[in-house]
């Protein structure tokens, strides 16, 4: 079992590295916050018309832009537990009409135990302005009063008076600002959804017939429902979401203080947040579910007692169904490619053992069941506990963490290698029977049960939707029992075989076929690994895949070395140590790939290039590719550093990046111009000479960059 120490060590290192990498990223974000004295006003307002000319009868947008001091926030229309939204008051000339202030999609601003909804940074509100059919001559002047509350730890009410003048001077077009602002507004798709209240939860099934939502299940995505009315939900409570069908999204949120039947219909935003696309929302009109409304009104009339009773019988009925589903689901899990091989191995071992001792067989069956129940129980308790603290999780939440995906993929891979016969730890196939009849066999079965739970998790997420969804909106005791029944379903087939001798007789006689079968079973396991790596690719992009595959190759290499050598001999010791160091080194280097910056600067095209060069500002061109390690290292050590960014900012350098990861004719042409046929290529075009208006000769930088080389560009 010397192998075990190595294994633990390596796994520990991998996880430790991942955690460190995340930590350092977080620190980098924090650094940019400058500490300084507060300003006179914590928010600045600019009033920007869509265009400065308005015609009779025309409607234009007016943007009210609020630039908020770092870390401070202003409020959404529904400000949450405290606060007040920004108000805009217009003094309108005769005949003009102004629309309601439109609020963009807010963020959640938590100040435990309170939660607010609002904005940080720059926020742009929109209002429509409609001119009358008969327009006054000459410039039109609007007086606008804006008042708002801006808070961070403390709250300050601020206000200002502004003037907007239209139809004066040259036409100025600000369509771009308006378009940007519109993109941050909730989308109106005319969605209507029925809501009801059950067990202190607001529940609604939204028909999310929109490409933005379809197929989002299992993606790293955050969904939320934010009513524009107060007291509908508990502010800051985490939504429980799952897709009941492809486009039927169920959202459940903890209820707020206000009585719902009195409220009737209200507006809400369905928030969708993904890492790639950021935060957006669709407007949903929430209407009371007719059946629920009728029954709750009838209940209110008939008194609370009767209501409680009818509610209870309903719950217990669906509880039975859910438990049955859970049991069935557990049974089906046994056939999943990630679980089936493990069950089969247990059954095979039973074939051998059953001949020897019936009581031992029973013991293994119970131990295996116990392992599974403990595993499911532990996960259920963790989920329930986290949910109590308001965390945003559901079944399968473990799989949202790439490190856990990686861990499960590795375990499965090792199990697969073992089944393939790539390595054996000790003892052969033949003497297994005898060693089984000791206590270790029992604890072994227990751990097999635990393992089954862990490897089963990737398979549960898509399959157990109904039972899990039900369980997660129930009180803890019910949720726990659903999970345990599910576990029991998973354990049931093996338990049955181990305790009923008649079933054992059905099992085929042991023989050489078992080895072949075992080797075959490795393939579904490998298939599961492939799937997990694909999931990893979705979560982390290509960098994560690089890391995972490097680790897999490294593990294989170490196992191979350990199969060929022994600690006891000096040569073996040296080779083993070197091997392990080499593998860890590779993994660490690959790990850097995960933190490689994914820059999103302007991408090279001949048109952008020419327009940049035609301008006056200095231009820095970086030709790079994802597969070019030198490029990535250069970017990491020299280009994407704060110092370099500051230098670029100070000299107003325009940065242009060309990505040659995929074939790109324009970039190839550019490279040829400089006599290159590969990346990296760094070219700096200095600023125009003030007298001649000419740019100096472009500077071609070396292929290995240092911060010093870049700084030198600006020395002269």
């Amino acid at each position: 079992m010397r192998f075990s120490y190595l294994f633990k060590y390596v796994v520990f290192l991998i996880f430790a590295f991942g955690v460190l990498a995340q930590g350092s990223l977080a620190r980098a974000e924090g650094m940019s916050l400058a500490a300084s004295q507060g300003p006179d006003q914590y928010a600045q307002i600019s009033i920007i018309p869509e265009k400065t000319q308005i015609e009779a009868g025309e409607t234009i947008y007016i943007a009210i832009q609020q630039d908020i001091y770092p870390k401070w926030h202003t409020y959404w229309k529904n400000p949450g537990d405290s606060g007040e939204p920004t108000h805009v008051n217009w003094d309108l000339p005769d005949g003009f009409q102004i629309g309601d202030l439109e609020f963009p999609v807010p963020i959640e601003v938590p100040t435990p135990p309170l939660t607010n909804y609002g904005y940080e940074g720059v926020v742009t509100y929109l209002q429509t302005l409609t001119a009358p059919e008969i327009l006054p001559q000459g410039p039109i002047v609007f007086a606008i009063n804006v008042d708002w509350l801006v808070c961070f730890e403390i709250c300050i009410p601020e206000s200002g008076s502004y003037t907007l003048v239209l139809n004066e001077g040259e036409l100025q077009d600000n369509t771009e600002i308006i378009t940007d602002a519109m993109n941050k507004m909730p989308t109106d798709l005319g969605w209507v959804s029925a809501y009801k209240e059950e067990n202190g939860m607001l529940i609604t099934d939204i028909d999310v017939e929109h490409p933005r939502f379809i197929g989002m299940e299992g993606q790293t995505v955050r969904l939320d429902l934010l009513p524009l009315e107060w007291g509908v939900i508990k502010n800051g409570s985490q939504p429980m979401t799952h897709y009941r069908e492809k486009s039927k999204l169920r959202i459940a949120k903890e209820r707020g203080d206000r009585d719902l039947p009195d409220l009737g219909a209200f507006e809400a935003l369905l928030i969708l947040e993904t890492e790639r696309a950021g935060r957006s929302a669709v407007r949903v009109t929430m209407e009371p579910d007719a059946e629920w409304l009728a029954s709750s009104q009838a209940a209110a009339a008939a008194g609370n007692d009767a209501a409680a009773k009818s509610n209870k019988s309903k719950t217990s009925l669906s509880l039975l169904t859910a438990l049955a589903f859970a049991f069935l689901g557990g049974l089906i899990l046994n056939l999943m490619p990630c679980v089936f091989p493990i069950l089969s191995m247990k059954a095979l071992s039973l074939c051998r053992m059953a001949e020897k001792s019936k009581s031992a067989a029973r013991g293994y069956g119970f131990a295996y069941t116990a392992g599974i129940l403990v595993g499911f129980g532990a996960i259920a308790i963790i989920i329930i506990a986290l949910k109590q603290t308001g965390a945003d999780i559901g079944w399968g939440f473990q799989l949202q963490n790439p490190l856990i995906i990686l861990g499960i993929a590795l375990i499965l891979y090792l199990v697969g290698l073992n089944l393939s016969g790539f390595f054996e730890i000790k003892g052969g196939f033949s003497n297994v029977g005898s060693s089984l009849a000791n206590r270790q066999g029992v604890s072994g079965s227990f751990f097999t049960g635990l393992l089954a739970v862990i490897v089963a998790t990737p398979c549960t997420a898509p399959f157990m939707g109904v039972a899990m969804g039900f369980a997660l909106v129930q009180p803890p005791a019910i949720a726990l029992s659903v999970f345990l029944i599910l576990g029991f379903g998973l354990a049931f087939p093996f338990l049955l075989i181990s305790i009923v001798p008649a079933f054992q007789r059905i099992l085929p006689k042991p023989g050489v076929w078992m080895i072949t079968f075992r080797e075959f079973l490795a393939f579904p396991i490998y298939a599961s690994v492939v799937w997990l790596v694909w999931v990893l690719a979705q979560q982390t992009g290509s960098a994560g895949v690089l890391w995972a595959l490097t680790i897999i190759v490294g593990f294989t290499f170490v196992i191979w070395i350990f199969g060929k050598t022994r600690w006891a001999s000096i040569g073996g010791f040296v080779i083993r140590t070197l091997g392990v160091i080499a593998v860890i080194g590779t993994i660490v280097v690959a790990g850097f790939a995960l933190t490689w910056p994914q820059a999103t600067e302007a991408n090279y095209s001949e048109k952008t290039y020419e327009s940049y060069i035609a301008g006056d500002a200095p231009v820095f061109v970086n030709m790079t590719a994802d597969w070019c390690v030198t490029c990535k290292v250069n970017e990491r050590v020299a280009l994407y550093r704060e110092g370099t960014r500051d230098l670029f900012d100070a000299h107003s350098v325009v940065y242009l990046k060309g990505d040659w990861t995929k074939k790109d004719a324009a970039i190839t042409k550019y490279l040829e111009r400089y006599g290159r046929n590969g990346v990296p290529l760094y070219v700096y075009y200095g600023t125009r000479n003030a007298q001649t208006g000419e740019r100096p000769e472009p500077v071609i930088l070396p292929q290995i960059l240092t911060p010093g080389i870049i700084a030198d560009l600006f020395e002269n």
Binding site: S82, T111, C155, N418
Partner: protein, 219 residues
């Protein structure tokens, strides 16, 4: 063969579980203050509490059964509190109520390093300075009572009837704005609730959305 697998399993399970547990612990820590289901529903019994007042006395809600009790969460530096104190509006409501035998507690749940925190001495001075008419200003720097009642804003008002039932919670009045001029235009929900109890009629707006600054709880 089983041994091969189970041996391997055990090795691989251990670090995974340790990691998972560590992750959850970090998660818990990040959550910070674990939130639980505090708060009282209108129509339910108001939970008892005992707090020290500005005068050094100890005040328990239970001791005031048979009387109407008003709880007013406050923080004298909050603009919304200033709205009601700078021109004497809140003082007037307090005066009228306490003269009618209502027990009026102002409650201070600002944590020690947060805006509005005061010790007994400072609270006494403030009462003199602003001429307020509360029965006592209760000091709740731990935020315990604030969270028990789920007090969210300053001001946030609670009215408890002589039977000890919470009959009103929410805003002081109907216009959730910071400007003083709005007070005259607004309906005062607390006055309405007190009048309804006196007349034995139903309280029209028994739960409203409180407005103002967030209560400055400690973290």
């Amino acid at each position: 063969m089983t041994k091969n697998i189970t041996g391997l399993l055990r090795l691989s399970l251990l670090p995974l579980f340790v990691f998972a547990m560590a992750g959850f612990l970090v998660g818990f820590a990040a959550q910070g203050h674990a939130e639980s289901d505090y708060g009282v529903k209108t129509g339910e019994a108001a939970p008892n509490f005992t707090l020290q007042g500005h005068d050094g006395e100890s005040y328990s809600l239970d001791a005031y059964k048979g009387q109407i009790v008003v709880l007013e969460w406050t923080n004298n530096e909050c603009p919304y509190v200033k709205k009601f104190y700078e021109e004497g509006d809140m003082q007037a409501v307090q005066k009228e109520a306490t003269e009618d035998g209502v027990v009026w507690f102002t409650v201070l749940s600002s944590a020690k390093d947060k805006q509005g925190y005061m010790d007994a001495e400072a609270a006494t001075l403030l009462i003199q300075e602003q001429g307020s008419h509360e029965t006592a200003r209760l000091l709740d720097p731990s935020g315990e009572v604030g969270k028990l009642y789920n007090a969210k804003t300053t001001p946030h008002m609670f009215v408890i009837n002589p039977e000890g039932t919470l009959v009103y919670q929410g805003a002081i009045d109907s216009i959730p704005r910071v400007k003083h001029e709005d007070i005259a235009k607004a309906d005062n929900y607390v006055e309405a609730a007190l009048a309804a109890i006196a007349q034995g009629t139903k309280i029209e707006n028994a739960t409203t959305k409180p407005y103002g600054c967030g209560v400055k709880y400690g973290s």
